[in-house]
């Protein structure tokens, strides 16, 4: 392992659900006549399909669950089978006449990794700015061209970015890549290949402002390349202006944001950011209202068959 660094444990693994239960595994087990579920010591260990006793899948039915009794039991009867759920950025919730767009803020670039690649000079050189992708027709409506500034207003604040006019996005949608818009304050160190200097102002009562002081600049260091930095645009930090959107079921943060896209205001400068964290707390509470809290059946906090990171003892699953 130290020598080769990696090795193959199996070169292929298919249809593992068809793995037959051994006689040892089957001893003292019982098989349900209706659904074929094989149980041992109160736990399902497999399923009888045709005449075969196989492991199946780790679900209550040991099969693929088109129908989810779990959803039913946990108060989501409307979602027991595969369904289409209208997004929080569904066109019904977007008023185009007010300049509203869904913003896709998540797409990644091949050369960067979240915020961790900030000290890799080759990568920062390739990608260091994140303009807003906007369709040609939408840009024309706004009277804007590539490089012009827009104010992107979210539920909790806004950020000022430049646009990139393109045919490569659906009309009516704007997009902005992840990874870019790294910053440091004047007193902070590090990552000067990718960070711009900003000033953060806490205006009180949850109101925060961030202003760009300097772009990325060459600097003197032991690495000569640092004095040859030719890029200055460090992009804009968009995530900090996003409201939290916890999906009431999966708990996923629903990244898409409804934004108002408008021509930058006269006082706006590239990279300006404003956020009101009180508003963001309000949005959190609104989304919280959509949830249907535990307990589930038998006073459970969570279905026992669901995986959980750092799974506690089963007894902790019950609300006491």
């Amino acid at each position: 392992m130290r020598k080769y660094g990696a090795f193959e444990v199996e070169n292929s693994s298919y249809e593992m659900h068809l793995k037959k239960l051994s006689e040892n595994e089957l001893s003292n087990s019982s098989t349900d006549i209706d659904n074929g579920i094989i149980t041992k010591n109160g736990k399902a260990i497999g399923v009888k399909v045709g005449n075969e006793m196989v492991v199946g899948f780790p679900t209550p039915s040991r099969k693929q669950e088109f129908f989810s009794q779990t959803m039913n039991e946990w108060k989501w009867p409307e979602y027991t089978i595969p369904t289409y759920i209208k997004s929080h950025v569904h066109p019904e919730k977007i008023d185009q006449s007010k300049g509203e767009f869904p913003l896709l803020p998540t797409f990644r670039l091949p050369v960067l990794i979240h915020s961790r690649s900030g000290n890799a000079k080759w990568l920062a050189e390739i990608a260091n700015r994140n303009p807003i992708w906007i369709h040609t027709s939408d840009a024309a409506n706004l009277g804007l061209k590539t490089g012009d500034m827009v104010r992107m207003t979210t539920e909790i604040g806004y950020f000022v970015d430049k646009i990139w006019v393109t045919e490569s996005i659906k009309p009516g949608i704007v997009a902005c890549s992840h990874h870019i818009g790294r910053w440091r304050r004047q007193q902070d160190e590090g990552n000067r290949w990718a960070t711009q200097t900003v000033a953060i102002e806490n205006q009180g009562d949850g109101k925060w402002k961030m202003k760009k002081l300097k772009g990325i600049r060459p600097f003197k260091s032991a690495d000569k390349d640092s004095s040859r930095i030719f890029w200055s645009d460090g992009g804009v930090h968009q995530n900090i202006t996003h409201a939290v959107h916890p999906d009431p079921i999966s708990g996923m943060h629903c990244w898409h944001q409804k934004v108002k896209v408008e021509v930058a205001h006269p006082e706006d400068q590239y990279g300006d950011i404003f956020v009101d964290t009180n508003k963001s707390h309000e949005v959190y509470k609104e989304w919280l209202k959509m949830t249907r809290p535990a307990p589930g059946p038998n006073g459970l906090r969570r279905p026992l068959w669901f995986a959980r990171a750092l799974r506690p003892d089963d007894e902790a699953f019950y609300i006491k």
Partner: protein
């Protein structure tokens, strides 16, 4: 650097010498694939032995329709593209911009790197861009015949450049324009002197001869200094002479200059020791070498295959005429300190008049003959109507040619002003001729 139609060479900021992708020669030599072939997740780059019919590359080449970049340059490129999209392969199909989708126009090599290193935290990017970049905001390219509706349509459907190879900037700057002027003076005065003597112009005295030879040597020295300064790695000047590639006009030019200097020095030696035979031989050899010095740059530029505009056969005449203009103009200036005979004076003014008029005609022809390629058309546009138009019309044509000729006709007393104008006109013309084509992106 200028010779490569693909703009593949660059000045390595660490070594300050020219470098290019050599397909990982250091790996191939020991049997390893080039790094780019090895690393690519999508196996998009394939290298191999094209002569081995069983190799993957030979089979792909046999099976697929492939394109190469700039086949019209007859460089026999061995990089083939499957499904090569012309918008990606032809630089003129997309526009160069300062800011691309994820980053700015790459300015990490050569003169840019040097500029940044010197000016870390002091000068601004804007300064650098204005000084070095072909894509600075003031330098937007005029579209060719923008009124034609088909092209407007095409323009609208134009692909957009989203990233770019490093920009090498203006590699040949004022030093090159300057050395073309100094060598024109250096060779011009010699050519003029010998012409005067041959034509029996009275007044080619030994004093005049001494002065000429000294002036020539002085400007030749200047030429040498500018030439060496222009090299990013000045010591590499030795390589030009001592590691010669005989078919390079850089080498031929270098030797022309060296021999010219040698012959003129011998001439001086002959003059000083009053050895007539030496003077005679040295004079003729100087004339031959001087002619070479005057015109070799035209061949050098022509070897820069990447620059279509420099491929003009007119360039030889253009250089020769500039040499005569420079020579005669400088003689006019010498006339302020050295008293020439009236016939010598007349001869000088005549040559100045004729060469300047011829120069205007030559430039007219050079710019008006139909240019075959998009790149050279763009340069002509840039000179006549675009970013260089003011410099060209006012600096080069009006001040550098027309006004001096008018002065000569109207009031020869003011000949020295017209000489100054002519000399600056040569410099400005050369600056345009050298810089403008470099603003065309090649890759």
């Amino acid at each position: 650097m200028q010779a490569c139609p693909y703009d593949a060479l660059y000045i390595d900021p660490d070594t300050h010498t020219a470098a290019k992708c050599n397909y990982c020669a250091h790996r191939v030599d020991i049997g390893l694939e080039p790094a780019c072939v090895n690393v690519c997740p999508e196996h998009a780059i394939i290298s191999g032995d094209m002569d081995d019919p069983n190799s993957e590359i030979a089979q792909l080449l046999a099976r697929e329709q492939v394109t190469v970049r700039k086949p019209e340059k007859y460089t026999g490129p061995n990089v083939f593209y499957i499904n090569g999209d012309s918008a990606s392969l032809t630089p003129s199909e997309t526009d160069r911009q300062d800011q691309y989708i994820w980053g700015s126009q790459n300015k990490g090599v050569g003169h840019y790197a040097r500029f940044l290193e010197k000016t870390t935290d002091r000068k601004t990017f804007e300064d650098m861009v204005n000084e070095l970049s072909p894509s600075s905001r003031e330098m937007s390219f005029p579209p060719i015949n923008p009124k034609r509706s088909v092209e407007v349509l095409m323009e609208k459907a134009k692909a957009k450049r989203v990233y770019d190879t490093p920009d090498k900037g203006i590699l040949w700057g004022w030093e090159v324009a300057g050395y073309v002027l100094t060598k024109a003076i250096s060779s011009g005065v010699i050519l003029l002197l010998v012409m005067a003597d041959l034509l029996g112009v009275k007044g080619v005295t030994q004093e005049v001869e001494y002065t000429t030879v000294f002036i020539s040597l002085f400007f030749l020295l200047l030429t040498g200094i500018l030439l060496v300064k222009d090299l990013d790695q000045p010591k590499r000047f030795l390589y030009v002479l001592l590691r010669p590639h005989w078919n390079s006009w850089l080498v031929r030019g270098g030797y022309s200059i060296t021999f010219f200097g040698l012959f003129v020095s011998v001439w001086l030696f002959g003059l000083y020791f009053n050895i007539e035979s030496v003077v005679l031989v040295a004079r003729w050899l100087s004339v031959l070498a001087g002619l070479m010095v005057a015109v070799y740059t035209a061949f050098l530029f022509a070897q820069a295959k990447g620059r279509d505009f420099w491929q003009s056969p007119m360039l030889v005449l253009h250089m020769l005429v500039h040499s005569l203009m420079a020579g005669s103009a400088f003689f006019v200036l010498i006339g302020l300190v050295v008293a020439f005979s009236p016939s010598m004076n007349g001869f000088i003014l005549l040559i100045l008049k004729i060469s300047t008029v011829v120069n205007v005609i030559l430039i007219g022809i050079e710019l008006s003959v139909p240019h075959a390629t998009h790149d050279s058309k763009s340069v002509v546009e840039m000179i006549l109507k675009g970013n260089y138009s003011k410099l060209f019309w006012i600096g080069a044509m009006l001040l550098g040619n027309i006004i001096p000729v008018l002065i000569l006709f109207v009031n020869p007393q003011w000949a020295f002003t017209s000489a100054l104008f002519v000399l600056s006109g040569i410099y400005v013309t050369e600056k345009i001729w050298i810089e403008a084509p470099q603003r065309i992106s090649l890759t």
